[in-house]
C-alpha cells in the first residue's frame, strides 16, 4: 500500500465516560507499532512544507524518518535540536493550525500526525534518558531569568548549554508557569513538566521559587547585583473579567483561580490537599479558547452535572485546539454558541443563582475578517447556574513592568522587544513569551526563550 493510502492513526484515548470523572491523562499515546506505521505515511518531502508551519522549524521529516526506522532514541535527539520541550509541545501545540496544516498529505487526505509522533518520540527519549550532558566551559557570565514558564525554561536551557551561570526567579512555589498552574493534569501530566525542570537543574540552572520580582528584588537590582543580563518571561497572568453585573458574587471564578486551585494546589484532592475548590451542579464557562475548555472539563471532573461553554461567536471561530474541542464534546460539555452573558444574578447570601444571556446572530465580516456577532434584540434568557468561570483572556501582569523604569511597553502593557535579539529598551534586559506577544502558545514562548538566549549570548560576547 502506498504510504499516503494508509489512514492516519487515531490516538488511543481513555473512554470518554470514565475519563470525565478522573484526572488521568486523556490521550494515551501511540504504541511503537502505531508510531512506526504512522511515520511511514510521511513522504519525506525534499521541501518539507510542514516545517514552515512550525514556529521553531522542528526537523520534522528527519525525526519522523528515525521513528519509521525504529531509531526512537535518535528521533528524540533530532527533535531536541530545535525544540527544548517536545514531550510538552507534542501534547499541547495547536498542530491543526501549525505543522500539520502545511503537511502535503493534508491537501487530499489527512496530514501526518506530527504532534502525536513528536509526543511518542519525546516520551521515549524521556524514559530512556541517562544524563549525558555535554560539559561546556563556564563563560564566567551570570544571567537572571524572571519567570519559570516555557519561555524562561527554554532560555535557561540554551544559556546553560552556552556555559553561562543561570538563576531563575519564580514567583510561585513551583516552576513551570502555565504548564503547572494552568493546563490540567489530564492534558499535560505534571511529572512530564517536572522532568524537564529537573533536567535543567542537572545542567546547573539554579531555580529560586517564592521570588516575586518587583517586590523582593527588581530588574535594576539584579543588574546591579552582578547579573550580566536579565531575561523577563513573566507571561500573561492577569485575568480579565467581563465587567458585567454580578461578577463578584460567590461562585464566580476567574479561570486562573479555578485552574490554579485545581492544578497547582491540587484542589481535586481536597481534603488530602488543604486548598478547596468548589463547583456546583450547573457550571457556565465564559469563553471558548484552550483556557475555557480546560476549565469546563475540569468542572466536569470535579463533579458538575451540566457544564456549558458560553460563546458569542460560532463553532468555526472557537480558538481552542481542535482535539480539545472534540474531547470536550465527547465528554458531554454543552456548547451554547452565539450566546453572550449580560449579567449574573445572585441570592440574598451573595451566591450565584443564574446567568442571563443574550442570543446573537452572525452579521457582516468585522475587522478580523470573521463574521461579527450581532445581538438579537429581546432575546434575553436566564439559565440556572451555581458556578461561573470567566475565561475570556489574560493580560500582562504589571508587577515587573511597573517596577522597571525605562522599560518600553506598548499600549496593552506588553514589553517591546527587538524582533531579532529580543533585547528591550534597556540594555542587557531581554524579554519574550506571552509578556511580549500577549497570550499565545507554549511553542511560541519556548521559541522566544531560545531566540533570547541567542541574543543574550551574542550580547555577553560583546561585553
Amino acid at each position: 500500500m502506498a504510504a499516503n493510502k494508509i489512514p492516519r492513526h487515531e490516538m488511543p484515548c481513555q473512554d470518554s465516560k470514565a475519563r470525565a470523572h478522573n484526572f488521568e491523562e486523556v490521550a494515551l499515546g501511540y504504541t511503537k507499532e502505531m508510531a512506526v506505521e504512522e511515520a511511514q505515511r510521511c513522504l519525506q518531502c525534499k521541501k518539507p512544507l510542514c516545517r514552515t508551519g512550525c514556529p521553531v522549524e522542528v526537523l520534522i521529516p528527519d525525526f519522523i524518518k528515525q521513528i519509521a526506522e525504529e531509531n526512537f532514541e535518535e528521533a528524540s535527539k533530532v527533535l531536541k535540536i530545535k525544540n527544548s520541550l517536545p514531550a510538552i509541545c507534542g501534547r499541547v501545540c495547536p498542530q491543526e493550525s501549525q505543522c500539520e496544516s502545511k503537511c502535503i498529505l493534508g491537501i487530499k487526505g489527512e496530514p501526518v500526525a506530527i504532534g502525536r509522533l513528536e509526543r511518542f518520540a519525546a516520551d521515549y527519549g524521556m524514559k530512556s534518558k541517562k544524563a549525558e550532558m555535554e560539559k561546556t566551559e563556564p563563560s564566567g557570565k551570570r544571567v537572571a531569568i524572571i519567570g519559570a514558564g516555557p519561555a524562561g525554561l527554554a532560555c535557561a536551557g540554551d544559556l546553560a548549554k552556552a556555559g553561562h551561570a543561570v538563576t531563575i526567579f519564580e514567583a510561585l512555589h513551583v516552576a513551570g508557569g502555565v504548564l503547572m498552574y494552568g493546563i490540567p493534569q489530564f492534558r499535560l501530566p505534571k511529572d512530564i513538566v517536572q522532568t524537564e525542570i529537573d533536567t535543567l537543574k542537572q545542567m546547573g540552572v539554579e531555580i529560586l521559587t517564592n521570588q516575586v520580582v518587583g517586590k523582593v528584588t527588581s530588574v535594576d537590582e539584579l543588574m546591579a547585583n552582578g547579573y550580566d543580563a536579565v531575561f523577563i518571561g513573566t507571561g500573561a497572568g492577569l485575568p480579565y473579567f467581563m465587567n458585567i453585573p454580578g461578577e463578584n458574587l460567590n461562585g464566580v471564578y476567574s479561570a486562573n483561580e479555578f485552574l490554579t486551585r485545581t492544578n497547582l494546589m491540587k484542589g481535586y484532592k481536597f481534603p488530602d490537599y488543604a486548598t478547596p475548590v468548589k463547583v456546583g451542579k450547573n457550571v457556565a464557562v465564559l469563553g471558548a479558547g484552550n483556557v475555557a475548555m480546560d476549565s469546563a472539563r475540569t468542572a466536569l471532573r470535579l463533579g458538575a452535572e451540566n457544564v456549558y461553554i458560553i460563546y458569542r461567536r460560532s463553532r468555526d471561530e472557537m480558538p481552542a485546539r481542535k482535539e480539545e474541542l472534540e474531547h470536550a464534546e465527547e465528554e458531554g460539555i454543552q456548547f451554547r454558541l452565539l450566546t453572550n452573558p449580560v449579567s449574573i444574578e445572585g441570592d440574598e447570601r451573595g451566591w450565584v443563582k443564574s446567568l442571563t444571556c443574550l442570543r446573537y446572530e452572525l452579521g457582516e465580516p468585522d475587522a478580523s475578517g470573521r463574521r461579527a456577532p450581532v445581538p438579537i434584540a429581546g432575546s434575553e434568557f436566564e439559565i440556572e447556574m451555581d458556578t461561573v468561570v470567566v475565561a475570556i483572556g489574560q493580560g500582562p501582569n504589571p508587577l515587573v513592568t511597573t517596577s522597571t523604569p525605562g522599560l518600553e511597553l506598548n499600549k496593552r502593557g506588553n514589553i517591546v522587544a527587538d524582533p531579532e535579539t529580543l533585547m528591550t529598551s534597556k540594555s542587557g534586559v531581554f524579554a519574550g513569551g506571552d509578556i511580549v506577544t500577549g497570550a499565545a502558545t507554549v511553542i511560541l514562548a519556548m521559541g522566544a526563550g531560545k531566540k533570547a538566549a541567542a541574543g543574550i549570548d551574542a550580547y555577553l560576547k560583546t561585553k
Binding site: 514567583a171 510561585l172 512555589h173 521559587t209 517564592n210 521570588q211 516575586v212 517586590k215 523582593v216 528584588t217 497572568g237 492577569l238 485575568p239 473579567f241 461578577e247 463578584n248 460567590n250 461562585g251 471564578y253 476567574s254 486562573n256 483561580e257 490554579t260 486551585r261 494546589m265 491540587k266 481536597f270 481534603p271 488530602d272 490537599y273 488543604a274 486548598t275 478547596p276 468548589k278 447570601r349 451573595g350 501582569n397 504589571p398 508587577l399
Partner: protein
C-alpha cells in the same frame, strides 16, 4: 525552608512566630504581608507582617487559630520550618508626617497595626493607639504597642480592661479629648473595620483599612481577592491591602469570606478527628 526561631503564645489560640526569611526582611515595609505554606499539601495562607529584623533576617507574624491551616500554624514550634514563605506582598502603608493620627487594632488586628504605628511615630506623628479585644486576657501586644505609641486607649467588650465597649467607644474617647485627627488606620475583623468606617464617615476623617479577603497567589494572577472599592473591582493583594475605608464595600467583602465555609468546616472537622484519634 524557612525556620521558626522564636515562638510565643500571646493568648489562647494566638501565636507569635519569628521566622528566618532574610530576603523578605531586607525589603518589607509596614502594611505589607507574606504568604506561607506549611508543607507540600498546605494551603497558601496570607499573614500580615507584625515585625521585622533586617540584621537578623527575620520576619515576625502573629497567627490566630480560626480554621484548618491556621490551627496547624499555631501549633508549630521553634525549629519547625515553613515550606514556602513569599513576600513582601502588597503595597506598603503611606507613612508620612500627618500630625496626630489614630491607629486602631482590634483583636488580632493589633499585630499588623504595630509596624504602622511605629512607622508613623518615627515619621514624627503623634500616635494615639486604640486597642480592642473581647476581654483583657485576649488583648495582645499591649506592651509593644505602648512602645510605639504616644498614647494608648484600651477598649474591651466586657470592661475587664480600659473602656467598656468596642474600639469605636475607644475612638469616641480620643475624639472627646479634642484632638485634631489627621488620619486613622483601622485593622481588625471586617465587622470592626466597617463599624469604624461608619463612625468616621460623618466626621470626614480619612480612614484607612487593611482588607483580608481570601487569596491564592498574592501576585494579581487569580482574582480571588477581588473587592469593590468606590464601585471599582480591585485586587487586594496588589492594589492593597490598604484602602480608603469610606470607599470599600464591606458587605460584599464579608459575603465573599464565606465562599469556602462548607469546605473549611470539612477540613477542620478532619483535623479535630485526627487529634482525637491520637495521631496527625
Amino acid at each position: 525552608m524557612y525556620r521558626i526561631v522564636k515562638k510565643r503564645l500571646l493568648a489562647q489560640g494566638i501565636a507569635l512566630l519569628e521566622v528566618e526569611a532574610a530576603a523578605v526582611a531586607a525589603k518589607v515595609e509596614p502594611g505589607q504581608f507574606v504568604i506561607v505554606r506549611v508543607d507540600e499539601v498546605g494551603e497558601r495562607i496570607p499573614l500580615t507582617v507584625m515585625d521585622y529584623n533586617r540584621e537578623k533576617g527575620t520576619i515576625t507574624i502573629v497567627v490566630q487559630d480560626v480554621g484548618y491551616s491556621s490551627a496547624i500554624i499555631t501549633t508549630m514550634n521553634e525549629g519547625d520550618a515553613f515550606q514556602d514563605f513569599v513576600g513582601p506582598l502588597g503595597v506598603a502603608s503611606e507613612i508620612e508626617n500627618y500630625g496626630t493620627v489614630v491607629c486602631i487594632g482590634g483583636g488580632l488586628g493589633i499585630a499588623p497595626i504595630h509596624p504602622i504605628a511605629r512607622g508613623l511615630k518615627a515619621a514624627g506623628n503623634h500616635v494615639i493607639s486604640v486597642l480592642g479585644s473581647r476581654s483583657a486576657d485576649l488583648l495582645i501586644l499591649e506592651e509593644e504597642m505602648r512602645a510605639v505609641s504616644n498614647e494608648v486607649v484600651i477598649a474591651t467588650n466586657d470592661g475587664s480592661a480600659g473602656v467598656k465597649g468596642f474600639v469605636t467607644d475607644g475612638l469616641a474617647k480620643v475624639l472627646s479629648e479634642g484632638h485634631k485627627i489627621a488620619a486613622i488606620w483601622a485593622i481588625g475583623p471586617m465587622v470592626m473595620m466597617k463599624a469604624v468606617v461608619e463612625y468616621t464617615r460623618p466626621l470626614g476623617i480619612k480612614t484607612i483599612v487593611s482588607m483580608n479577603p481570601i487569596m491564592v497567589d498574592g501576585t494579581g494572577m487569580c482574582g480571588a481577592c477581588r473587592i469593590s472599592v468606590g464601585n471599582e473591582t480591585k485586587f487586594a493583594c496588589v492594589d492593597g491591602p490598604e484602602f480608603d475605608g469610606h470607599l470599600v464595600d464591606f458587605d460584599l467583602a464579608m459575603k465573599r469570606l464565606a465562599f469556602y465555609k462548607d469546605e473549611e468546616n470539612r477540613a477542620k472537622a478532619r483535623l479535630e478527628c485526627h487529634h482525637e484519634g491520637g495521631h496527625h
